[in-house]
């Protein structure tokens, strides 16, 4: 759910990058942080282990368009992908407005993708949320690697629900598809909050 400060005319949205470990969630945020102009972004906080595995979560506040007199501010979170950090993931999902599922396209990571997607669905249900109705986008990352599954199969694997989500191929380390993903999920969140676009100004 969004946090609205009526006095300050600011709406805070929470977008969580979810996915299996080493899928590239932090890489997404890092690229966003590097590319956004300084007045649009806050400080990115990342707590990682020595091998760059996200320990708790990453956080990056970014400002976006103004809609109906409100300034929209997106808080981008990642979750630790390792399976034993489920309590942390559950906590990070609290109050989420939109989800980006970052999947690893490699053949040997397909099962982890499915398990992570199920875990996302389970954790959302504990908050009374449903992934089918939640604004979410699927990003197939690491498309530049050699041993990646074809897109059709990835779609079948992760995006065959009754309501399909938009999906993007991405290479997060060089930025391919990163902002496509972010813009799409942000607009989906805005549509859900405001309905039809009115008075939107960049």
């Amino acid at each position: 759910m969004s946090i609205i400060n009526y006095a300050a005319r600011v709406i805070n949205f929470k977008i969580v990058y979810y996915g299996p470990g080493m899928a590239g969630k932090t890489a997404n945020l890092q690229y966003i942080h590097r590319c956004l102009p300084g007045d649009n972004k806050g400080k990115m906080i990342s707590l990682a282990t020595g091998d760059d595995r996200t320990l708790f979560f990453d956080f990056l506040p970014v400002s976006a368009v103004g809609v109906r007199g409100f300034t929209t501010r997106f808080q981008l979170y990642t979750v630790p992908g390792q399976t034993h950090y489920n309590m942390t993931r559950k906590l990070v999902l609290r109050g989420v407005d939109g989800v980006v599922f970052v999947g690893d396209s490699q053949w040997d990571r397909l099962r982890e993708n499915v398990e992570s997607l199920r875990n996302l669905d389970d954790n959302l249900r504990e908050y009374g949320l449903d992934l089918a109705t939640m604004p979410h986008v699927i990003q197939y990352n690491k498309r530049d690697l050699g041993s990646v599954a074809p897109l059709d199969y990835l779609e079948y694997l992760l995006n065959r629900g009754t309501r399909r989500a938009p999906s993007f191929e991405a290479v997060a380390v060089d930025g391919t598809g990163v902002f496509d993903t972010l813009n799409t999920v942000s607009r989906m969140v805005l549509v859900r909050e405001f309905g039809q676009a009115q008075e939107a100004r960049p």
């Binding site: 590319c35 956080f59 906590l91 599954a149 074809p150 079948y156 399909r164 938009p166």
Partner: protein, 778 residues
């Protein structure tokens, strides 16, 4: 292994010969003992009944076997029946003085017991070869899996060039040779040297057999889809060229020897497998199950999943000895249901029949006993490439009807150098689950907030134990010169006043009045680092705006959720900081200020300053206290806090028993949550309020502390911005002191101070409210 194979063959042959001899000897013995000589059978019955009965018996005994196999068995039984008749005639001619012709006539039909014995003995002779005709695995598994995998594989047209030489294949290797894998030269057969090493060549795509179209996938492909998401301006990239998909293809090149042993439908080759019966008629047309599509998986890809002690052959030889060399065949119908899992696992029992029986170092039953639930994970790339793309094609378009009307919120610029991005908080070690936190850092809220009641606050439910990384030791920050009476710039400044009317010299320094800085906070690196570290511990409470400033020369880091007004809380925290420092010298670990609108928790950090964090009223106050205390322990200088000292002046109090009113007794009774307390009163002195003290000891000191709290926090409290102040709780371990302002009708300021060891903080808080109500009622 060759010896074992010979032994098996000899055992079967001996068993058959013994049964046949026994039948012949029995018939001869019956004739010699004149048993049944008078029984006669017609020649037509002797010649016609056995084939029909054997055919009937074949259908009964060989359930699950194809018709040709059954017919072959019946023919073989007839042949053995005839052979036994001849054998009995020979023995009869040797044992009895009669001609060979007469002996044969009697053994075949004129001596009725003989044909009957031969009729019974022929199936028993065939039983010796039953495992060759109907493998035990098939018969055992027939009930749980009606259609055997091997039975679906069509017979090979000819012997392939890669058919292994069994004599050399069946050589028993040593354990080290097994482990050496396919590269062990010892197992290279000289006759196969021209063959390439064990290299799997994926089967070329071939069109599916016309009469047997690919079956509908067993997986329910959820709704249907588009090839690309119709999302502007960022559509999903078009799918890459589909991988080659090999259509179902009849299994080629099955070795006859294996075919006899493992695939009952395959016609045995007489040269390699001596037939137990006359050659069966040509194999019938493949049954529908034989045309079932299969997935071919290179054996090399799964070889490492096979335990080495199960097989006597090295992997290379084992790959050659498979039913289809170097390839494991898996029915597609077993694969399809698992495609949605991202992994395909096949139970070993479904593919073990593709391995030659003699390649096992132990019986199949022993393998299953040792490795229950043994599954083989198939390489997904090989599996998916052999599945028709239509199986995966989903067709429902993504529902993005409205978002194109919004402009793209984020327009990226050129990426900055990577090294300046994402400053990381160092993590000392891999932690346990949910014990580390990352700061939620946001720019300060830009505008004053007026209506905060309409917003929602996210409050987590789970308590965590934060272990924030250590921050560098604080640099000594020189205290600013004596606080000048700064001009008050804010409309309602809060000034911390010194405690009134000290009657006992204070051991702690008297705090100077602190004027609230009305301007944006002045931060420095130390305050910034302190705020960042403290934020780690408060993450579970949701988003905070935080601001660090220096008050009295020490950092004050104030965390305010975006739903509350920052300015008022900043002022409250700044005004309370000197008091908190004094209370810390008294041993107080935390001060919680409750108003009707919010709760502010102030935690002294020793030499590092003070932490203030606020939540909206009704929020997770206990959690905020807990996390603030832990964050302070992790980042503050609590360990070097000064020893307990009397930091407040003692105030003369009058015990309630000496002329105290009855209301004090009632109030004391309501404060049972604090344990046994004695009540006393310190009368008002000038601006100092009356203090109703409820404690079991140190009442005079407590009264002095209550007056200091009143002076610092209750006098000049900005009720419009913060709400009416309800209580101030001083916490030291389990000791809690609650100071509540009392509304007195005469306008004389009064406070209630109750202290004691509290186990249930909420109950103590309600008890103090009840006691305050009792005092105010009188």
């Amino acid at each position: 292994m060759a010896r074992h194979r010979t032994r098996v063959r000899a055992s079967r042959s001996l068993r058959a010969v013994a049964v046949g001899l026994l039948a012949a000897v029995t018939a001869t013995a019956l004739f010699e003992f004149d048993i049944g000589r008078t029984l006669l059978l017609s020649s037509s019955m002797v010649a016609g009944a056995p084939p029909m009965l054997y055919l009937l018996l074949a259908f009964v005994l060989l359930r699950g076997a194809p018709f040709g196999r059954r017919l072959g068995w019946a023919v073989a039984a007839c042949g053995i029946y005839a052979g036994l008749g001849i054998a009995s005639g020979l023995t009869l001619s040797l044992a009895h003085p009669m001609s060979l012709e007469g002996a044969l006539r009697r053994s075949l039909w004129s001596f009725a017991p003989a044909p009957f014995i031969h009729f019974l003995a022929a199936p028993l002779v065939l039983l010796a070869w039953r495992p060759r005709l109907v493998p035990v695995r098939i018969s055992v598994r027939a009930e749980r899996e009606p259609v055997m995998l091997m039975a679906r594989v069509p017979a090979p047209p000819s012997l392939p060039a890669s058919t292994p030489d069994w004599d050399s294949v069946l050589r028993v290797p040593s354990a080290t040779q097994w482990m050496s894998g396919s590269g062990a030269p010892r197992y290279d057969r000289p006759s196969r040297e021209h063959e390439p090493p064990t290299v799997y060549l994926p089967p070329e795509p071939t069109p599916p057999p016309a009469p047997a179209p690919a079956p509908a996938p067993a997986v329910a492909v959820a709704a249907p889809s588009v090839t690309a998401a119709a999302v502007a301006p960022s559509p999903m990239v078009a799918a890459p060229a589909p991988p080659p998909v090999s259509a179902p293809k009849p299994a080629p090149a099955v070795k006859p020897a294996l075919a006899v042993k493992l695939a009952p439908v395959v016609k045995p080759a007489p040269t390699r497998q001596p037939p137990p019966a006359p050659p069966a008629p040509a194999a019938p047309a493949p049954a529908p199950s034989e045309l079932e599509p299969v997935i071919r998986v290179a054996f090399d890809r799964i070889a490492d999943q096979l335990p080495p002690d199960v097989f006597t052959l090295p992997p290379a030889r084992l790959a050659e000895s498979l039913q289809e060399p170097h390839v494991l065949l898996v029915p597609r119908r077993l694969v399809l249901p698992q495609l949605g899992e991202g992994a395909v696992e096949i139970p070993w029992t479904l593919v073990d029949s593709q391995f030659p029986e003699l390649a096992f170092s132990m019986p199949q039953a022993e393998v299953r006993r040792r490795f229950p639930g043994w599954v083989i994970s198939l390489p997904m790339d090989e599996v998916v490439r052999q599945i028709p793309l239509d199986t995966f094609r989903v067709q429902a378009p993504a529902d993005l009807s409205d978002i194109s009307e919004f402009p793209a919120p984020f327009n990226p610029g050129p990426p900055e150098p990577e090294e300046v991005a994402a400053p990381k908080v160092p993590a000392p070690a891999e932690p346990a689950e949910a014990v580390h936190f990352v700061a939620v850092v946001e720019p300060p809220a830009p505008t004053p907030v007026v209506a905060a009641d309409e917003v929602e606050l996210i409050i987590p439910e789970i308590l965590f134990v934060p272990e924030t990384p250590p921050i560098p030791a604080a640099r000594p920050v020189p205290a600013p010169p004596a606080a000048p009476p700064a001009p008050v710039a804010t409309p309602k400044p809060v000034v911390a006043a010194a405690p009134a009317a000290p009657t006992v010299p204070m051991t702690a320094p008297k705090p100077a009045p602190v004027a609230l800085p009305p301007v944006p906070a002045v931060t420095d690196d130390e305050s910034e680092a302190l705020g960042r570290a403290l934020a780690l511990g408060l993450v579970p409470l949701g988003a905070f705006d935080w601001r660090a400033r220096r008050v009295g020369g020490r950092p004050l880091v104030c965390f305010v959720p975006p739903t509350l007004t920052r300015e008022g809380i900043d002022a409250l925290a700044a005004g309370a900081t000197p008091l908190v420092e004094r209370l810390a010298s008294w041993g107080i670990e935390q001060v919680t200020i409750r108003t009707t609108r919010l709760v502010c928790v102030l935690t002294p950090l020793g030499a590092r300053g003070c932490l203030a964090a606020a939540v909206r009223r009704g929020g997770a106050v206990a959690m905020l206290e807990l996390l603030s205390a832990r964050a302070a322990r992790a980042t503050g200088d609590v360990a070097s806090a000064p020893s307990p000292a009397i930091a407040f002046p003692a105030v003369a109090t009058v015990p309630a028993g000496n002329g105290g009113s009855h209301r004090l007794g009632e109030a004391a009774g309501a404060l049972a949550a604090f344990g046994p307390v004695a009540s006393s009163v310190a009368e008002a002195e000038g601006a100092a309020p009356s203090v109703y003290v409820f404690a079991d000891h140190d009442q005079a000191v407590l009264a002095g502390a209550a007056r200091a709290v009143h002076a610092a926090l209750m006098t000049g409290h900005d009720e419009n911005a913060l709400g009416r102040l309800e209580s101030v709780v001083l916490q030291r371990g389990r000791q809690r002191t609650i100071v509540r302002p009392l509304r007195s009708p005469g306008g004389v300021p009064a406070v209630l101070a109750a202290a004691g060891e509290v186990t249930l903080a909420g109950r103590a808080h309600r008890a103090a409210a009840q006691a305050a109500a009792l005092l105010e009622a009188h």
